[in-house]
Amino acid sequence: MKLLISFLSILLSISACSQELFAQTEPASTRAKGSITFRMDHTLMDEVNTSSINYHMIPELMFGLSKKLMVSGNVFFSNRSEVFRKEGGSFYARYRFLSRDALQKHFRMAGFGRISYNNSDIHQEEINTYGHNTGYEMGIVATQLLRKVALSASAAYAKAMDNGGNNKFLYGRENSRAVNYTLSAGKLMLPKAYTDYRQTNLNLMCEFLGQVNTGSGRSYLDVAPSLQLIFNSQARVDIGYRKEISATLVRTAPNGFFVRLEYNFFNAF
């Protein structure tokens, strides 16, 4: 908590700009209507007590269906089962239900949901519908954008089911539900002033990601600092590191690097 407060105060004291396009969470804002986004997520997580690296690759297509609704679909690949293979996929939707917009600021809220399928073996108590567990997740997110700084918080309910390929959820039905919560902060560092769409933007982000299992009461909390570049107001690269701060839940590979590549096609349909 102290870390969080000191980070936020540093962030707010630098006088530059902000972004809400977080690397580990989604803001309450949705995608432009008629836009298609192609996203490619890569994570390289260090497996605990071994020398292996768990590599996950998630290609995703996102669609701005209306001014308030976006949907996306993705496919999960990983090398966890010795070979690099497809393990499943998920559908995600987000609906913005509140917008308080003013010049250079907004407060927005959205509801979101994800439904996932995965046929990998279940190897950790942590519930993760983004590339590990079959199940679903639903929640709400609130985002405040104030000139160059963006703050966002979310809370979600996640439920894990048995994975495909006869891979059972090993930790008991009563421990298959969890509450996820996140807090994200982002700040636009460069350019100092906008003059052109072609200027490269540099954003710094810091996110806190936590989970509490509603059955066992066990939990984890991670921090994920990242750096983001936006090119030509259309393409985006995020590079970051996710680090466990504390955990009582069994986790296989909580620490590691992530890289996200994204490209937006406006007026695509």
């Binding site: 700009c17 902000s18 972004q19 396009l21 804002s29 949705t30 995608r31 432009a32 209507k33 008629g34 836009s35 701005g64 209306s66 001014k67 913005r96 917008s99 917009d101 003013a102 010049l103 250079q104 600021k105 907004h106 954008l145 000139r147 160059k148 636009l188 002033a193 906008y194 003059t195 052109d196 769409y197 200027q199 933007n201 936006i230 107001s233 259309q234 985006r236 937006n264 406006f266 007026n267």
Partner: protein, 159 residues
Amino acid sequence: MKKSFLFISLILSIVSHAQVTKVHLQASGLTCSMCSNAINKALKSLDFIDQVEANVTDYTFELTFRPHADVDFDKIRKKVEGAGFFVSRFVATIHFDPVELKEKVPVTIGNYSLLFVNNKARSLNGLQEVTLLDKGFLTAQEYKRNALAPAAGVYHVRL
């Protein structure tokens, strides 16, 4: 009562020949160039728009139109909202053929009418800048403050 008044005033409206030459709008709720670009690209997809000149510093957009095109203010507003933002100021530059403006009597130009708010009788001629006062064309606070009843096909404007 208001509706019937409006209906009567529409019948009594003054028909004028006029052409919208330019629109200057400001979008709210954004601070980044990616968001601004989303609006820019959305506006460019409208067939009656000739050019969009975006100012990334103050989030304003200067629109010019194809000759003799039917300029649709609501389509412009919907494009900004579709990109995920809101219009906070909307000023149209309109070229009017000479017309006598009467108090509370709308001026019909093409498919819609302009009702000049708080305006005494005067004549309109040549280029005039009008600011739209209807919902979605200015900030929610300003709209509330003005308390204007919406009417189909009628835009409330201020010179």
